[in-house]
């Protein structure tokens, strides 16, 4: 792990990965859009509105994944003082917030025609809204300190405490009565979703993963550069 702790090595590694992750994002998005919007069939109950699923479900998955990355890197930063962990956590937050926001908006656009309501205060929707607030709170807290190390530490603690929310989101549809339908892909055994719909969903999910990797690497690069700038400024002050 400490092999990747070296920022120079990380920069070299990220420069090698970035063209691939960016290229994959574009190709997979294109395939996902064509299969999702044109090739895949309409649902026998939900009609064409089911196509919202191909952006809604990957957004939800990525919202939770980006938060998990943030919480795990925060733990690594707190325990091992790993120099890159704070930067990874900090860069994961805006992407995760964007995914969570998209999940809520697309879900609302799906809920209106299917449930007859833009929003209901049910466990799945409410816990997802809390996830968005956790992201926004984390970003505000991290940037609220003059000393970035103190901001990162405060943010890491918030990220870890808020991690409780992730399993709550995941199991909310099983624990409480809800309008939201339960998981149909990540069920034990066979996914209860028809293959022509599963393909665009999985392609879109992969596209969102590649997108996330791209944004995360770019963000960490920006943070490493910012840290170098700060270090130079500090030596200038002391000279």
């Amino acid at each position: 792990m400490h092999r990747f702790a070296n920022p120079t090595r990380f920069l070299r590694l990220s420069a090698a990965i970035l063209p691939w992750s960016a290229g994959l994002t574009i190709v997979l998005m294109a395939v996902g859009l064509v299969t999702g919007l044109m090739v895949s069939p309409a649902d026998y109950q939900q009609g064409e509105s089911v196509r919202i699923m191909y952006v809604h479900v990957p957004s939800a998955w990525m919202g939770m994944l980006a938060y998990s990355v943030m919480a795990i890197s925060s733990a690594v930063a707190l325990i091992w003082k790993h120099p890159l962990a704070d930067l990874i956590a900090k860069s994961s937050a805006p992407a995760g917030a964007a995914f969570t926001f998209l999940c809520l908006v697309t879900g609302s656009l799906w809920g209106k025609p299917m449930w007859g309501a833009w929003w209901v205060w049910d466990a799945r929707l409410t816990s997802m809204l809390i996830l968005l607030f956790l992201y926004l709170g984390y970003m505000a807290l991290v940037s609220a300190f003059d000393d970035p190390a103190r901001g990162a530490k405060a943010g890491a603690i918030l990220a870890l405490v808020g991690f409780v929310n992730v399993p709550i989101i995941k199991f909310s549809v099983d624990w409480w009565n809800t309008l939201h339908q339960p998981a149909s892909v990540t069920k034990l055994g066979m996914p209860s979703i028809a293959t022509p719909m599963l393909i665009p969903l999985l392609v879109m999910a992969l596209a969102f993963h590649a997108y996330y990797v791209t944004v995360l690497l770019l963000g960490v690069r920006a943070e490493i550069t910012a840290a170098k700038v700060r270090a130079i400024r500090l030596t200038q002050v002391h000279e």
Binding site: L33, L37, M38, A42, G47, E48, S49, R51, I52, V55, H56, S59, P94, A95, A98, F101, L102, V105, T106, L109, W110, K112, P113, Y211, T214, V215, L218, G219, R221, A222, T225, A226, K228, V229, I232, R233, Q236
Partner: protein
């Protein structure tokens, strides 16, 4: 023409499907543009700072060697 209209109509759900895809496109493109911009801005700042430092260091070096020449003269 009819198929294009049917495609955009989305079985009557066009008013929900297209905004969902539209807002996704705006948010995802917006975030990547913002991230790239902030990265470029910081890299430019670093390059600037290093250039200033480099020229300052060179100036100090020149001054030092100048003084050495003057001391040698005296």
């Amino acid at each position: 023409m009819e198929t294009i209209r049917a495609f955009f109509n989305m079985g009557g759900y066009g008013g929900f499907v297209w905004p969902a895809y539209g807002v996704s496109a705006i948010v995802l493109v917006g975030l990547i543009v913002m991230t790239v911009r902030s990265m470029r801005a910081r890299e430019a700042e670093l390059a600037n700072l290093q250039a200033v430092l480099g020229s300052r260091r060179a100036a100090a070096q020149a001054q030092r060697s100048n003084r050495k020449v003057l001391d040698g003269d005296a």
